[in-house]
């Protein structure tokens, strides 16, 4: 190997048939060359909706985490958060692509991410509000990643091999996310009087949104062996959260859960006011230049 091979920038100037404006500008189908056939006996429409919900959770939350970048207290936290947001964006791309293929209407990840309206999004409401402070960030990330890790742990045995593969990769990433968030919740909760009070207050703000994570899901019910019943995840998630809260000397908040509206919540397309603002930012470039490529 020559010295030139060590220069990451050399390839930018190489003469190729492609345009190489900068590193990482090319986006190709993340499922290129992967068998995306819906397995026999699986309801394709339900599989598409299910993957859409899991993809939307990751897409919206990744965007919220990206909004924190440049606002973190230290460089190490900055890189941590950017990496977590990137992992989730990667999961979102795979899941939205999987949803598009299972749907079979020719929609790709970009169509699904940028050209759906608020009511067509299927994410849980937990990921929508902006964090008011660092304690809310740590608390929401802990709850989200503990729940998603438990969920993906089940999905590694999914009858859809593609969903199982996406979950298998995600489990490794989410373990790091959960552990990172747990460390901060413990540090703040078991820290000073002020950090404890603020961490406890943050949990009080987020907690009403946790009940929805375990709500019965009509789409999952149509996918036996493929999807996980959300209700069955509660014990595993509670065990993790209770252990972290105990170590952090924090109390599990009470208070009423944020109720569904006429029986509908995030998975049915009913969202908090915050989602519209997230989408306005997330989709603005794609909607202003719908034929642009990048």
């Amino acid at each position: 190997m020559t010295d030139d091979d060590f220069d990451a920038y050399r390839s930018l100037s190489e003469e190729t048939d492609d345009h190489r404006w900068a590193f990482g500008t090319g986006f190709s189908d993340p499922l290129e060359g992967i068998d995306t056939a819906v397995p026999a006996g699986v309801d394709g429409a339900a599989l598409a909706s299910y993957c859409l919900g899991l993809g939307d959770d990751a897409l919206i939350y990744s965007h919220r985490l990206q909004q924190w970048v440049t606002r973190m207290p230290e460089l190490e936290e900055e890189t941590a958060l950017a990496n977590i947001a990137l992992d989730l964006l990667g999961q979102a791309r795979l899941l939205l692509s999987r949803a598009g293929r299972a749907e079979g209407a020719g929609r790709d990840e970009d169509q699904l991410a940028f050209f759906r309206t608020e009511g067509e999004f299927r994410n849980v409401r937990l990921v929508e509000p902006a964090d008011a402070d660092f304690a809310e960030l740590a608390g929401r990330l802990l709850i989200f990643s503990a729940w998603r890790l438990a969920l993906f742990g089940r999905l590694t045995g999914s009858a859809d091999p593609l969903l199982a593969a996406i979950a298998g990769q995600g489990v490794k990433e989410l373990t790091y996310h959960r552990d990172y968030a747990a460390q901060w919740v413990i540090r703040l909760g078991d820290g000073t009087e002020l950090s404890h009070a603020r961490m406890q207050a943050a949990l009080g703000v987020i907690w009403p949104l946790t009940d929805e994570l375990f709500r019965a899901d009509a789409v999952a019910a149509r996918l036996p062996g493929v999807a996980a019943d959300p209700a069955t995840l509660r014990a595993e998630v509670d065990e993790v959260l209770d252990a972290v809260l105990a170590a952090a000397t924090l109390d599990r908040p009470g208070g009423a859960p944020l109720a569904p509206v006429a029986g509908r919540a995030g998975r049915e397309g009913v969202h908090t006011e915050a989602l519209g603002y997230v989408l306005a930012e997330l989709q603005s470039v794609a909607r202003a230049h719908p034929d642009a490529t990048w």
Binding site: D18, G24, G26, I34, L86, T175
Partner: protein
Amino acid sequence: MVTRRAGAGVADGPEMVTREAGDRVAAGLELAREIAAAVPDPEMPMMTLADLGILRHVTAQDGHVVVTITPTYSGCPALTEMARDLRYRLGQAGFADVIVRTELAPAWSSDQITPEGREKLRSAGLAPPGPRPRGRDARGPVPLTLATARREPVACLRCGSRDTEQTAPFGPTACTALFRCGTCREPFEYVKDI
């Protein structure tokens, strides 16, 4: 423009049945495999795709070379760049219209980094990963003590001391974490065990 080198094609239609052509296919694939294996990782250019263990297969299909790679992380931004580099380098050697495929299962693990790859990481100042954590779905219990890592202590690359601590679980790229040596006080990067 891509320059084509004679004899490097992997198949030539009906000729495939002849022994000579069959040998040529095998020789072509061997060359394609060597080229693909030597493609550098865009984020850690001292490592090749083979060193990282992300090159899964190099096969032939309908006269085209098919290269299968696996992502290290779901959001790895380097994957597109790797596919482009594979097509370009193989194209330079005369393999036209190379197909690059992604394989998600089984998911990549840092255990797949080769011994040569670990040596290269070490010489570049990156601590190679320890064995991937095992147990229930590779998920452990959530760590409840601050700064307590689930893994074996990581040895400092400079002084060899095992008195090291993780300063951040995420580094400048998705696959590294930040560490600091308690003896020589130097910070270093550790390739995460996943």
